[in-house]
């Protein structure tokens, strides 16, 4: 009996949908787009968060590890070397950082004092890969990495001594004298401009030291775990001085929070607006079917029965529209994420049903709400044409 009734209900529903093809098509388009919009707004913020996080990485180091104080400056902005440095053991630290997944980048730097025509100059020895990461936004004239016997001069020091690219310059370091060719001039807007940049190993050999650094600039992510990392590092290497560049950390955290909040509010706003629009369209289709409702009621259909019939129709439409909208939304999200951030929003099994259910609920609830209009239909009046 129940199966028979259900079969009859389904038959009526399909017939009703098939009879008014243009109406069904319009509703499907409207619901599918609403669902696609919901999916984009639910999934895309995750991609935006990932993309912005990756862009923010370009701020560079958020932690400096050194033996003791050696630079003057403001927050992350170093203003120069003010004391002779001690050394860090690179091998031990490299091994430690390699094992720690929170460390994303480590730039080991060696600082040394030398002389040019009896004037003190600072040499900054660094590693090629780390230097290329750190200097991606600098303005470099000439070559961007010095080979053996070459050096990159900071713009300030080059200006001070009137050095030009291609010039051979004689330096002294302790009792050693050597000539270096200036192959590039770098402007960073920070203390590197007042230094001579070269390969760390070359500088180590002049100093007669091996596998040591004056400081290491670390990029630790996520920034929320930076305090935990600092504590852990202090515990394992109590002789080190660790400086968290709060300015960099806070700047990143602040912007991520603001953008997330903005996207969240906009998502809520768009969801509400979408629900109202879907409810409006569905209401009009209910009003359009006034006569059909009146007829059903007049031949004995109760409010509950007619509502059930319409509900089944709404569920049917909402399900297929949400399914189509969900896939359309997902494709749009991936296309946006790829074009804006050049990344894919990773597919995960948890977010897929969540996004689908959210968009299905929005479409379904907005479609059900107008069904209360059915209760207002007076069959006699409607059939009389009033």
């Amino acid at each position: 009996m129940i199966v028979e009734r259900l079969r009859w209900l389904l038959k009526v529903t399909f017939k009703s949908l098939a009879r008014k093809k243009s109406r069904t098509f319009l509703l499907m388009i409207s619901l599918t787009l609403a669902s696609a919009l919901s999916t984009v707004f639910l999934v895309f913020p995750r991609g935006a968060r990932m993309g912005l996080g990756r862009e923010l990485r370009a701020y560079g180091a958020n932690l400096i590890v050194s033996p003791f104080s050696q630079e003057a400056g403001s927050a992350g902005l170093s203003l120069g070397l003010v004391a002779d440095s001690g050394f860090l053991n690179i091998k031990a630290l490299k091994k430690y950082f390699k094992q720690n997944p929170l460390v994303k980048e480590a730039n080991f730097q060696l600082l040394a004092r030398g002389y040019y025509q009896s004037q003190p100059v600072t040499f900054l020895g660094t590693e090629r890969e780390a230097f290329q990461n750190a200097s991606q936004f600098w303005k470099i004239e000439g070559r961007s990495w010095p080979e053996k016997g070459e050096v990159l001069a900071g713009s300030q020091i080059a200006k001070r001594f009137g050095w030009k690219i291609g010039q051979q310059v004689g330096f002294e370091m302790g009792k050693k004298k050597f000539n270096l060719k200036i192959v590039g001039i770098a402007e960073s807007g920070s203390f590197e401009e007042s230094t001579l940049l070269l390969d760390r190993e070359a500088l180590s050999s002049w100093l007669g030291v091996n596998d040591v650094a004056s400081q290491v600039l670390l990029r630790v992510e996520p920034t929320s775990k930076i305090d935990f990392f600092e504590k852990e590092l202090k515990n394992d290497f109590p002789e080190l001085k660790i400086l968290t560049l709060q300015q960099v950390v806070k700047r990143e955290e602040n912007i991520v929070i603001k953008v997330e909040m903005l996207l969240f509010l906009v998502t809520i706003f768009v969801m509400v607006a979408t629900s109202i629009s879907v409810a409006n369209t569905t209401s009009i289709t209910v009003v359009e079917r006034w006569r059909e409702i009146g007829l059903l009621k007049s031949i004995g259909g109760s409010n509950a029965f007619v509502t059930g019939l319409f509900l089944l129709e709404a569920c049917f439409l909402a399900f297929f529209a949400s399914l189509a909208g969900f896939f359309l939304g997902w494709v749009l999200t991936e296309a946006f994420a790829l074009s804006v951030f050049s990344l894919w929003v990773p597919f995960d099994w948890w977010s897929m049903p969540t996004s689908f259910l959210a968009s299905f609920s929005i479409v379904l609830v907005s479609s059900i709400w107008p069904l209360r209009l059915i209760f207002r239909v007076e069959p006699a009046l409607v059939l009389k044409g009033q």
């Binding site: 509703l27 707004f41 936004f137 807007g189 806070k250 903005l262 706003f269």
Partner: protein, 406 residues
């Protein structure tokens, strides 16, 4: 006749009109609100990024010092309103007694209020340049007084606390100061001792001088044109470059007012912020355009659904002798009415929403733009017209006899 029919139609189909109106309001509000937020979001995000540290550094062009009096001139450049933080420093070493240790002393402003030439109040100093810095105790205000603030790390090393009296001795002079606070800035500041600028100048015998100036300026992301060397530009190109808030253009203007200076963007900060801002703009623009498309479809489908129901009405009017043109005018005037009222209400709702979002996220009110008002009206009118047009065209093509027969 036409007006009577129009009013009668409005009266008879209250529910349909109300739903179509609600749809127009929602759609327009969504578009106006999102575009409104988009208009101001990039400026707001840019200001947020500028709350934590400098993006332009001003140093002497050759060795020596800069003049303190020139610091104030930074608020007179073309892009003065974009300058949100200024902080001068005078650095030197001094021995702290009784601890007997040589420390790096920075003469600076923690919080210094001054009037710009236009008569506006501007608060400069470390605490406005780096909003993340916290002081335990009291900061000194202005640039005078016998007070000092010590970096948290240095205070720990020397065992000093607020209230302690210190004697600072440089090669030039010896002065006595009282510690009033401990600064925690999470940077190099934590290892420095801060004095009011004038006091430090006195200590180092460098009256009226500063070592460098840090500036925070709200700038626009660098594009190909912004990166060009101004020396290679034509006069017109240079004017355009100079009047755009590119970081190098703002730095150049600062260099022009600070005598003997070299002002340079902090490239890593400037480029990262530029990239973040560009991406953010792109994200928001994409979402706004998508919402615009969504609202167009939503409004048009509501109107279309409403129009489909009125095929009988069109057929009856035709049967009574009304021309297609006349019927078209009647229905399109309904579309105009809906578009106008929906657009106006939607605009008002949209700016309310944009204002709430701005207040909640950035703590600033929404300023609004005339273009947004016009855009809202145009969107609402066009969408309503489109929504009416297609079903109307279809209804007009039917034979009245066939439709009226059912």
């Amino acid at each position: 006749m036409w007006l009577r029919l129009f009013l009668a139609s409005l009266k008879r189909q209250k529910l349909l009109f109300f739903l179509a109106f609600l749809s127009a309001v929602t759609g327009t509000a969504m578009v106006a609100g999102l575009i409104g937020v988009y208009f101001e979001a990039s400026a707001n995000v840019s200001r947020e990024l500028r709350k934590y540290g400098a993006n332009i550094i001003v140093q002497p062009a050759s060795s020596g010092y800069l003049k303190e009096e020139d610091v104030y001139k930074i608020k007179t450049i073309f892009w003065r309103h974009n300058i949100v933080g200024i902080n001068p420093y005078l650095y030197g070493f001094a021995e702290v007694k009784p601890a007997g240790k040589k420390v790096l002393v920075a003469g600076t402003w923690l919080k210094k209020e001054f009037l710009t030439p236009e008569g506006n109040k501007f608060v400069a100093g470390l605490l406005t340049l780096n909003r993340g810095a916290r002081i335990k105790g009291k900061p000194f205000e202005g640039d005078q007084g016998e007070l000092a603030v010590i970096g948290s790390s240095l205070a720990f090393q020397l065992g000093l606390k607020p209230g302690d009296k210190l004697v600072l001795s440089s090669r030039q002079k010896e002065i006595e100061v009282r510690l009033v606070g401990i600064i925690e800035a999470g940077g190099y500041e934590d290892e420095q001792l801060f004095l009011p600028l004038k006091k430090a100048q006195h200590l180092f015998g460098a009256e009226g001088k500063v070592s460098n100036i840090l500036v925070s300026a709200v700038t626009v992301p660098l594009d190909e044109f912004g990166r060009r060397d101004p020396k290679t530009m034509t006069r017109r190109e240079f004017e355009k470059w100079y009047c755009t808030a590119y970081p190098p253009a703002v730095a150049k203007q600062i260099e022009e007012v600070v005598c003997g200076s070299s002002a340079r963007p902090v490239w890593q900060v400037v480029e990262t912020e530029g990239k973040v801002l560009s991406k953010f703009q792109l994200v928001f623009l994409t979402l706004t355009l998508l919402s615009l498309l969504g609202s167009i479809v939503a409004v048009a489908s509501t109107v279309m659904a409403g129009m489909m129901r009125r095929e009988d009405e069109v057929a009856l009017l035709k049967a009574l002798g009304a021309s297609k043109r006349w019927i078209g005018r009647l229905f399109l005037s309904e579309a105009f009415f809906l578009g106008l009222t929906g657009g106006l209400s939607g605009y008002l709702a949209g700016i309310l929403l944009a204002d709430s979002i701005n207040q909640l996220v950035f703590g600033t009110p929404f300023e609004g733009k005339t273009s947004l008002f016009l855009l809202s009206l145009v969107v609402s009118l066009v969408v309503n017209f489109l929504g009416f047009l297609f079903p109307l065209k279809k209804a007009l093509s039917f034979e009245p006899g066939v439709v009226l027969k059912g």
